[in-house]
Symmetry: D2
Subunit: 365 residues, 4 copies
């Protein structure tokens, strides 16, 4: 099942070291401005080439839109986006063939797909596949803009270092001016130190991110099984390495008395709204108009240089493996951009489900 | 969207104080033994009548199977289960009309559905609706048994009290012999104390649960968007009050070095498997044969007796409200049973998707 | 798979001689006026009690709405409708057990579901199940009315007798004032004669119907796989006995030159439209604003009194069977009402898909 | 909605004169032999280059598999197939911009998508898009072969000329040795004559085809809304120009007495089966093991050289248009191959739904 969404449907394809990865984006109304540049811009946000150990495979993406766009506007037909794989170096992976990396999907893929799985670069299970999601997110973000909504996120934990500062959504957006999107400069310095340490150790680190969606209109979300929280949770756990999710203030709420945890309701500009927003913009699975925010955690990259215990599946006997290929010391920064993107897709899908964007005619007619 | 699942599809309906709640269970093969008693048994597990403040509305459920079952066996046709609502006392709710309870879905439902929403007892957003999910879970658990798999869970945190003990899956199952399914007797005592305190304060408490699925065959789960983790996460966040999820060792993994977090691979009984199971039975969204386990946290019940700030939507001015109705001091125990159920549904769905249960002919032919 | 539709989803359940049949209607916006009477009214249209051999099981339907409606308006939550089965006489069917009726789904159900299939009255495969579809149609027709659209049909062939008259959509609606909805009085007389003859012979007859949808806005329908023609064709062939479909002028178009078959385009009231409507309101799967019309044919009722060759599945040897139960001499009149209903569901689904009816707030806010 | 199928899902994309058309094929198990040649072979079957007026755009297709295949075997991951558009001549279409061709989807696309629609070559509505379906069919046919099933079809009517001969399934397959797949040599000669006449007149012709599926196991198909007939009907009407469908003996059955129409049931090789097969292999939407066969009719190609009445949408005034581009005198032969393909996809989907092909492990393990 490589399709996500009901009215806005994205179907991804591609292996890390295959010819290309890509996505077909279906359900976009006609008349939305879109160019390959729009997609490249989002893809660049996930590169972090200025911190080489985060992305040794740093390369400008070659993006090609094969369909669905005419003269800079969407046609209303499916948008096929191909991101060509270039400069792949598969030699590192020869040793890994039949020797799955601990912690990597390699092992599960072996069980399900056997020898037919293209393990090179992690194949279909590679973090690289999130580039296709980010491409779809570029389109979804433009759809959200039609409703006055936007999505942005930042890193809240890396290698055990947690941010410790109060911040606003504006701070979150500003943080992208830094080497890593972190609102707390002190924490950022420690995180960068952790990255260097991990690289030196030939090891990897995990962490956590927070994504905000602001300006989302109230009334989106479908109880019982199309709740905003449920759809975004499914989206988040589709990203490689996702291991935990906190909605709003998350488990901190679980430790409060109900009378503390509840957000009081008040009147603002003649409209009822929440006086606080501990719950993160959603009640009963339905948006109430206050900002959506949630946190997701990702485990460390499974590929590390240290010797690890695995099995030679050909001989079916224990062995050890030391990964010699290029690897990202942490997938957290890329995962953040992917999480922004898939969140935008999930919310744009709900804009369509609720009928806030019409599709019986082109935009603006 | 009140349907969950692709090959095993459950469609729920019903409001808390309406005539009935229920579920249509579609996709079950012909020839599965099933009676109303099987469903009642699961529904009883969520009653906890021996702790009245957890379920003031304690009543034996009146369950009626309207279709899909013949002489104690499923027909292969949709199974419609109705759970009649009896002894509902709606008078408490009159005051709440147009005065949404803080923290409750009432407010979101008002925004989306307006005056047409049946707010009595929380209407469609009531925890009561999880009874329909539990009924479906009773069927799903029987399907899992066909593949030698089973699901069981326990409470790991309540009112801020966390368990502090090592335990096995057997301990988890045994814990159901206690007043609450808690593997740590000391923690249980403190939890029961917290429940009493909350009741006295007219307040409510939240907590966390852990669900295990054991015996699930390897090779289930569909990258990129039908991952086991993603489907179960969506399921978990469809339960009222769900606020956080940790898969396997969850965010603890995010703080480890990759070399620590990775589960080594070894050979057992001539088969490759994980030497440890920090990851909770799933890699790359695909089951590997080791036990699945994850934790979910739930916020406190929004309904409390303490006065809370809300808005009179008719006059559109601030007011306060004190809930006088029956309420569960904590939804955590019921949420646990619902989470077991929806997890069973999600896994049984994947058994069908993967073709482990055939449906071109009845079971056992 | 007992669910139809994407945004308006109906999930049917029930066996002919079980406790009840019913449907869960999901996706309806809040604020639509709806009562049990509205549903009963549509169900009565399929009774034709004034021609007893068309419906020996003539009985007023006992309809109960279990959820989704409050004080005469939809809540926006799933609407569960139960139609109780009363006065069923199953004794006729004892002989049929293990002796499938030729032409009936009995035999296919035996292959797929084995002895677990409730064959009484045709069980799940009975034409009775279309009552659930008609109930859903009652709701869908009200949604169409919101967009100024309506659906109505008539009988164009019965027992080999075809209508031979020109008529308008108004004539189609007026024809419901007759014993059977037939626009051609002479043909109607012959049809009624055929019905009498079939009853005397203990045999059955088939026929054809035509359904119109008028006022459907342009721009509905989704190439490549959500075309209006495709969705309605799927709907039509879900009705028991459906055997053929002609869209617009159907196969007559296949015999014309392209220059004859094409509908010229013209300007009317400053808007472009078709000068003729041979194509039946849809081009490329998308509505163009002209009336939709199509014909569907149904085979004769398989149950007949004449001895027919079948197999004793217990002994696995040939035998003959004479059906002694109540049977409809023709299912065509009931099938027409079911086809109207499912067409309304398919079109209302597309109104939601295209965003012509919003669901982030109740109707009329 | 450009996705078809539930377990085998195909998602098509591309415009006739865009960069490429293509399809993502998702749900195929790992270990199926597949090469680009397999797909080209099926694409060649739809070329009919030996009858130039049927395909003036005759060109060898440039097929590229971007993902999902490794060393000649499927990986179990989505298979992205791109068919590059070459040698497109769009100049013919300049005049058509804002002057929709009568009978063509152009007009409907203008209403729904406005000026953003790429009308060149018919854009997304072009018959060319069926090449993507045929590519998917090449994979689906291989999946059917795993279950011992196969699909093949022939032309039964063209330009009003109908075949008049009795034939077997073997004859249907043999007919592909002729200029057009027609089992009746005399009818074929007349059809070829009609094609020449139509070309001379600058006009076009329609016709009908019949598709067979043989070896399909019993027990496939899901009442109430996943019936084999319904899914294939939806598939058939997704092909441009589809206008009518007859299942089995189709409307001829509607004219018979029930006692004539019913297929007697008998015993063969110790198994119950139908003595005749008027119904075309499906009862109650479920396969019974006898051959599936059905007929579909297609209207003439809308593009013709004769002047036709249309509207200048810029000036919103009547005008006439004479199409000067390359056009297929009849789309029927290509439509037949597309119908074979989409039928194979629908049936392979049901093999997966019913669990006849497992996907928790690679084929053959």
């Amino acid at each position: 099942m490589n399709t996500f969404g009901r009215e806005l449907r994205i179907t991804t394809f591609g292996e890390s070291h295959g010819k290309a990865i890509g996505v077909v984006i279906d359900g976009v109304p006609a008349g939305l401005e879109l160019t390959e540049e729009d997609i490249k811009r989002e893809l660049e946000r996930r590169m972090f080439c200025h911190i080489p150990v985060l992305n040794p495979r740093c390369e400008p993406e070659e993006v090609e839109i094969l369909s669905g766009v005419k003269e800079g506007y969407t046609q209303g037909t499916p948008i096929a986006v191909v991101i060509w794989n270039r400069r792949v170096i598969s030699s590192y992976y020869e040793e890994l063939w039949m020797k799955p990396r601990p912690g990597h999907a390699d092992f599960a893929y072996y069980l399900k797909y056997g020898r037919h799985y293209d393990h090179r670069g992690g194949g279909r299970a590679s973090g690289r596949t999130t580039a296709a999601v980010v491409a779809a997110g570029a389109v979804a973000k433009k759809m959200l803009a039609l409703a006055g909504a936007e999505v942005a996120g930042h890193i809240v934990e890396l290698g055990g270092v947690e941010i410790n500062a109060s911040y606003t959504y504006e701070d979150v957006k500003k943080s992208w001016g830094r080497p890593l999107p972190v609102v707390d400069q002190q924490a950022l310095d420690k995180m960068l130190e952790k990255i260097r340490e991990a690289a030196m150790r030939g090891d990897s680190i995990g962490g956590g991110v927070e994504v905000w969606a602001v300006g989302v209109p109230p009334g989106l979300g479908e109880p019982h099984f199309g709740k905003i929280k449920a759809d975004i949770a499914a989206a988040a756990f589709s990203i490689p390495g996702a291991i935990a999710l906190d909605w709003g203030m998350g488990r901190a709420l679980a430790k409060m008395w109900g009378s503390e945890a509840n957000d009081p309701i008040t009147v603002a500009n003649g409209r009822p709204t929440l006086a606080t927003n501990k719950i993160g913009g959603v009640l009963g699975g339905i948006t109430v108009g206050t900002p959506i925010y949630f946190r997701a955690w990702f485990k460390p990259t499974p590929s590390v240089r240290k010797p690890q215990q695995t099995v030679d599946l050909a001989k079916m006997e224990p062995t050890t493996i030391e990964f010699k290929g290029r690897y990202d010391v942490s997938i957290v920064p890329k995962a953040l951009v992917a999480l922004e993107a898939i969140t935008a897709v999930a919310l744009a899908d709900h804009l369509l489900r609720a009928g806030l964007i019409r599709r019986d005619k082109p935009l603006g007619r």
